[in-house]
Amino acid sequence: MKRFVLRRALGLVLTVWIVVTTAFLMMRVVPGGPFSAERRLPAAVLANVEARYHLDWPIWRQYLQYLGPLNLDSHGLLGDRERPFGGVLAGDLGPSFRYRDYTVNQILGESLPLSLALGSLALAWAVTVGTTLGILAAARRGTKLDLSLRLVAALGIALPSFVIAGLLVLVFSLALGWSPVAGSSTFAHFVLPSLALGAPVAAYVARLVRTGLIESLSQDYVRTAVAKGLPYSTVILRHAARGGLLPAVSYLGPAAAGVLTGSLVIERIFAIPGTGSHFVASALSRDYTLALGVTIVYSVLIYSLNALVDFAYTRLDPRIALEEL
């Protein structure tokens, strides 16, 4: 247990470090900055603005300042600054280049709750519906129900989430008028986006559950349970499901990553001011700190979720020891 936590913590630090370094170098090596885009600023103004964000420093110093935890600002290492610590290691993602007077932490504080709500809603329905349909398809293997469920699942995997989103808007918002088209003020605004976002995940989960369950239905212990005279539903839910659901559990980590990725597009379609839409905007307008900040937060999120899923896996499958992961 201790070893597992320690290894994962180390891995997390390594991952974040690689992300920060790669993205940071990429952003500084490619010519052009956030202020060289549209209107050319007068040289004096540009120098001032660059000094404000330390863009006039050598790269290594900018990098150390961004990484933290020591604040290298103006007067040496520990001058008369009120904040001796800063940078990513101190949990400070810096000021945004585009939204003046906002720090990245503030922007994330406002947008992340929206994205997390959307993402967890999508994951929740996707896992529930996907598991149910997968169990149904496996229990009725070879019937028309199984066939049609498999077709729906294949469609769900093949269709990009923005096509599903367009379809949902066309049917439920415009044709039937049941749902608002875009926005984020009420719960109703989140229904269609989370449906579109979760659809591919639901399809994958259904497929994994079906395959896993069919495999575990051929196990000896399932035959024993049937031979004992247990009802079919008990055999499936109590005996077969325990082993059969394992592949789906290990898919939850990638699923969470997929939902976060999908939110980049879905938030744009439904005009939700979440982290995903901020990320796309910031990457396009070269808002270095905001783009990096979102990438870092999402890497931490995905990595921790993966670790949690692996942990849950060992609890569900006693054959796998925590130390091996």
Binding site: M26, G32, G166
Partner: protein, 359 residues
């Protein structure tokens, strides 16, 4: 053969046995896979469908469709017209973006073949009067070629990396696969978007010859998708390395290169082909995703992602131009679905370990 040299085979004739054994020819993996694929109706249909679409989109410049770039501004967007009700007699104009040598020649051949004839607005036109049928044709071409290029890059890197790690073994193997693990845990989409957005701006200042966006696009996508391939190939090569037939070949003194060519490669290729088929739709999805965000293929060129993005934008309460969303979405979804089904079918058909077991 002399009769006295024969073994006692329970009174059976050696020549007959030998002849019987001769008839049992080892069937090449590819032949068996082909046979199994034909039996899988969904996969076979997908294969035929993809052949038609692939040829059609590859030779899209030859088809008598309008140019996907020519705009005909009008007050009202042109809805789809059934071919038999089509009264518009528009003349074909050569109006394309900078075509390469091959595409230019194809378009020239098209004007020789069909003259000024072009199809009408059978699938409608977009808000700028560009013909949707032509845009879907050229868009599928772009998407499919992009996917093929990026998938081949990832195939090459993945096979070389995985096979090298497995053959070297030991510390090299550990470090190479640890590297893959680390890359796996990176949030790639975010880095890809950052990279593409970054390389977007200097294009204006450095000129297009220096950093071609499409090259960045292929390299970035190819660099993402090789990870799974490397893992799978490594697993396969590791299994092969300790298999009896490789050991036997080695015991007989076969040179390593020969073993590689004769025993390892034929057994790795099926796996690589399966993952190539499964990588293609993923790459196409990624291309669509990035084009949707405005980071992939750039107008005036077209791709599935760009078309669907336009279509989603055309869905609003003011005027519903459903065809702009429906036709590109159906085209893209059917190609992706066919690729997924074919990939699954190939995986079943090429599974070398699975010996003709009844389904």
């Amino acid at each position: 053969m002399a009769a006295e040299a024969r073994w006692d085979l329970g009174g059976r004739d050696v020549d007959a046995l030998y002849a019987e054994a001769q008839r049992f020819r080892g069937e090449p993996i590819s032949t068996r896979a082909w046979r199994k694929l034909r039996k899988n109706r969904a996969a076979w249909f997908s294969w035929l469908f993809l052949c038609v679409i692939g040829l059609g989109s590859l030779f899209a410049p030859l088809l008598p469709i309008p140019s996907p770039k020519t705009m005909r501004p009008s007050e009202r967007p042109q809805p789809p017209v059934w071919p038999w009700l089509d009264k518009t007699k528009q003349q074909f104009e050569v109006d394309y973006w900078d075509l390469g040598v091959v595409d230019g020649a194809l378009v020239e051949l098209r004007t020789k073949l069909f003259g000024k004839y072009q199809t009408g607005p059978w699938l409608g036109a977009d808000s700028q009067g560009r013909d949707l049928l032509a845009r879907i044709g050229w868009g599928s071409r772009k998407s499919i070629l992009t996917a093929l290029a990026a998938a081949s890059i990832s195939l090459t890197i993945g096979v070389v990396w995985g096979a090298w790690a497995a053959l070297k073994g030991g510390r090299t193997d550990r470090w190479m696969m640890r590297f893959v693990d680390v890359l796996y845990s990176l949030p790639f989409v975010f880095l890809v978007i950052t990279a593409l957005a970054l390389f977007d701006a200097p294009r204006a200042s450095l000129g297009e010859e220096l950093i071609d966006r499409e090259v960045v696009f292929f390299v970035v996508l190819g660099a993402v998708f090789w990870l799974t391939m490397a893992r799978v190939v490594r697993g396969q090569v590791l299994a092969l390395k300790s298999s009896e037939f490789v050991l036997a070949a080695r015991a007989m003194g076969a040179p390593t290169a020969w073993i590689l060519r004769r025993h390892v490669l034929p057994n790795v290729l099926p796996v690589a082909v399966v993952y190539l088929t499964l990588t293609l739709p993923s790459v196409m999805l990624a291309e669509a995703f990035l084009s949707f965000l405005g980071l992939g293929v750039q107008a005036p060129e077209v791709s599935f992602g760009l078309l669907v993005a336009d279509g989603v934008e055309a869905i609003n309460a003011l005027q519903v131009r459903w065809w702009l969303f429906a036709y590109p979405a159906v085209a893209m979804a059917s190609v992706l679905l066919a690729l997924f089904v074919l990939g699954d079918g190939l995986r079943d058909a090429l599974d070398v370990r699975d010996k003709e077991r009844p389904a």
